[in-house]
Point group: none
Chain length 230, copies 2
């Protein structure tokens, strides 16, 4: 049987060396990367069985790398290493869909348990990603039930209304959606005040989505909107 291939991204070289050697002594094949910017080509070349990513990296955080990896490969398990200072919320947002996380400091046993766990789950054919829950919207990925919108540079937790509106827009992308329909779906009626409310949320989403210039919420005055995605 081939060795399990681990892609390990860690900027603390001292810690990294220990972990790498420790895993190798347990018959894993480990490729370590200390620079977040170089991960994708290495990933493509190695095609690892599992990724272990430190969240705090000099140029690029682990979440961003993760969502890039996810675009290349929607199923490979990803394990985050987080310092205890990170907010729980965002980490949790990412700790689904084949992702797991371990708080630093951790023991080798713990890491190995998580790795084996991830591999086992994947082997059993348990869907690692609840794929339909994660929408690719342009350069963003949007976890609907977690209400997390992740771009290259920032990860944002959306409120309920923001998230629902984005979902509606996405489901009807490239088509004209009636203002009234959105209002009825989001507020249950289309009174004047809710109508102005919708304007506010449209503005918010536009600003959240501006990392990708190709994403556009076009206003069709007197009618509604059209969300153009590609």
């Amino acid at each position: 049987m081939n060795k399990t291939k681990v892609l390990y991204v860690e900027d603390e070289l001292f810690l990294g060396k220990i972990v790498k050697e420790s895993l190798e002594s347990r018959h894993y094949e480990v490729v370590m990367e200390s620079d977040g910017t170089n991960v994708l080509p290495v990933f493509r070349q190695l095609n690892p069985d599992v990724c272990v990513l430190d969240v705090m990296l000099p140029h690029k955080d682990g979440f961003t790398i993760a969502s890039e990896i996810r675009e290349l490969n929607p199923t490979v398990p990803i394990i985050f290493l987080t310092a205890k200072t990170q907010t729980d919320d965002l980490v949790k947002g990412f700790s689904i869909g084949g992702n797991d996380y371990i708080r630093k400091p951790f023991s080798m046993e713990e890491l190995i348990v998580r790795i084996e766990n991830a591999l086992r789950i994947r082997q059993q054919g348990v869907p690692v990603t609840n794929a339909k829950d994660i929408l690719q919207i342009g350069k963003y990925s949007f976890h609907v039930t977690r209400q997390v919108l992740s771009g290259y540079h920032e990860v944002r937790k959306l409120s309920f209304r923001e998230s629902e509106l984005l979902k509606i827009l996405y489901e009807n992308r490239d088509r004209i959606i009636d203002r009234k329909d959105i209002l009825n779906l989001l507020w249950g009626n289309d009174s004047f005040f809710n109508s102005r409310n919708l304007d506010v949320y449209i503005t918010k989403l536009r600003s959240y989505l501006k990392e990708d210039d190709l994403l556009e919420i076009i206003t069709i005055k007197g009618v509604g909107y059209r969300f153009v995605t590609g």
Copy 2:
């Protein structure tokens, strides 16, 4: 696994050298061209996996090169590098059709993400052009759902009514279209006021289309219009 081959067209030699070496250190094979006129032979010889083109080049702009490359190869991903001074809309207008673009200055991470992204999209067999959405109208190209009309010199965002009218005219080009039919399609009825409204929009479109002398919206009094495109 073979290295990913990148054709990189860039006239700023200093920047180019940095980018080239940076990509090479990340296991890409890079061929750099500084002169736009020589790109096609190089393309043929290299048969790259992805092209990265600076838009502002001395003799020939990146868009022109891109369309030449497209003739040789309709699917290879093309990424444009554009200066930040170019207006958003210009970029938007041209960045349609499966290509991506990056604003200068950019980070290496960003470039790599885009490259990997482009390769992945191609692998998945995702269609690179949403061709049916882009109409060629004389010297203009018209992106219907984005409501963007791009000529050589200016790119204009059309309003919904302008855009719909242009679409109707184009779909019935070189034929006589009844005024009434347009009115019914655009406003749902043909009352007097809407009728005057149509006049206004016809005037607007005529002025938008005057970059190309061969395009003409001919009035047929008492009947309707004929949009002559050839």
